[in-house]
């Protein structure tokens, strides 16, 4: 019940979901392990993309366009997030060089 036909061959939705899970996990590893703030932002983009793949896979499985519309909205939010995050980052780098996010601890009091 979870498969559908594309161009003569049968694809299974669970393959797409598994790919999305792998990509999301890779993004999580990046956010947790990497220390460069820029790379952390990049890994967040990777996670958002994996979620978009999940939305579109379910949209195709249920033959309901709402999932694609939600993916479109999430792309907009991701673009806004990237813009503001990078602006904050440029602002921080203007004051000093940060090569480890653990150095940015001024707000911890």
């Amino acid at each position: 019940m979870s498969s559908f036909d594309v161009g003569g061959s049968t694809l299974d939705v669970s393959w797409f979901l598994l790919l999305a899970a792998i990509l999301f996990t890779l993004g999580t590893i990046g956010v947790l392990v990497r220390r460069n703030p820029l790379v952390i932002l990049i890994c967040i983009e990777l996670m958002l993309n994996a979620v978009n793949l999940t939305l579109i896979a379910f949209s195709r499985q249920l033959q309901n366009i709402d999932g694609q519309l939600f993916a479109l909205m999430s792309m907009t939010v991701a673009a806004a997030e990237a813009v503001v995050g990078l602006a904050i980052l440029v602002d921080i780098f203007r004051v000093r060089d940060v090569e480890d996010v653990d150095d940015l601890s001024e707000m911890s009091g």
């Binding site: 594309v6 161009g7 003569g8 061959s9 049968t10 694809l11 669970s14 393959w15 797409f16 979901l17 598994l18 790919l19 899970a21 792998i22 990509l23 999301f24 996990t25 890779l26 999580t28 990046g30 947790l32 392990v33 460069n36 820029l38 790379v39 932002l41 990049i42 890994c43 978009n52 793949l53 579109i56 949209s59 195709r60 499985q61 249920l62 033959q63 309901n64 366009i65 709402d66 519309l69 993916a71 479109l72 909205m73 792309m75 907009t76 939010v77 991701a78 806004a80 990237a82 813009v83 503001v84 990078l86 904050i88 440029v90 602002d91 060089d97 940060v98 090569e99 480890d100 653990d102």
Partner: protein, 165 residues
């Protein structure tokens, strides 16, 4: 044929994702992410999401990634040198992420799909069908995203002012 395309694109996406997290230089992470985005756009095409496919390439692989490249060009190549102060956390986080992946995987195994809506698949995911959804059922969220983008643009301009302090 479609299955072959799926697996090639999936392999590219996973390789790109690994490249994102193991590259020492941020610019290589960004270029790996472009590979992931383009591979994912192929997957979107397999899921008959033509419009999202185009948007993915233009907005994500085009605009957002170029933004990242500009910022890297502006800040210079900040490499990750040496070891972090919280080295043990890396290994701990890998353990947690493995458990996390197991949870997601177990969750996907338990999915029961409801009956599909029997949409007309010949127009599914085209610009027209997206627009009909966007301008009827989801007009209010669609207008709200314009406010969101405006706020983000104003915030970015404000944050990058020179005479802030």
């Amino acid at each position: 044929m479609a299955a072959v395309i799926f697996f090639v694109a999936a392999a590219l996406a996973v390789i790109g994702g690994i490249g994102v997290i193991i590259s020492r230089q941020p610019i290589r992470s960004v270029l790996s992410l472009v590979v992931v985005m383009i591979a994912l756009s192929v997957e979107f095409l397999l899921l008959s999401a033509q419009f999202i496919f185009v948007v993915q390439i233009i907005v994500y692989a085009g605009a957002v990634m170029v933004l990242f490249l500009f910022v890297i060009a502006l800040l210079g190549p900040a490499r990750e040198l040496g070891r972090g102060r919280l080295r043990f956390q890396s290994w701990l986080s890998l353990l947690f992420v493995a458990v996390f992946f197991g949870l997601i995987y177990a969750m996907f195994q338990g999915i029961t799909y409801r009956q599909p809506d029997k949409a007309d698949l010949s127009v599914f995911g085209t610009v027209q069908s997206i627009a009909v959804g966007l301008f009827t059922n989801y007009l209010y969220p669609f207008e709200l995203t314009s406010i969101l983008l405006l706020v983000a643009a104003i915030g970015a301009v404000y944050l990058s002012r020179r005479d802030l302090r």
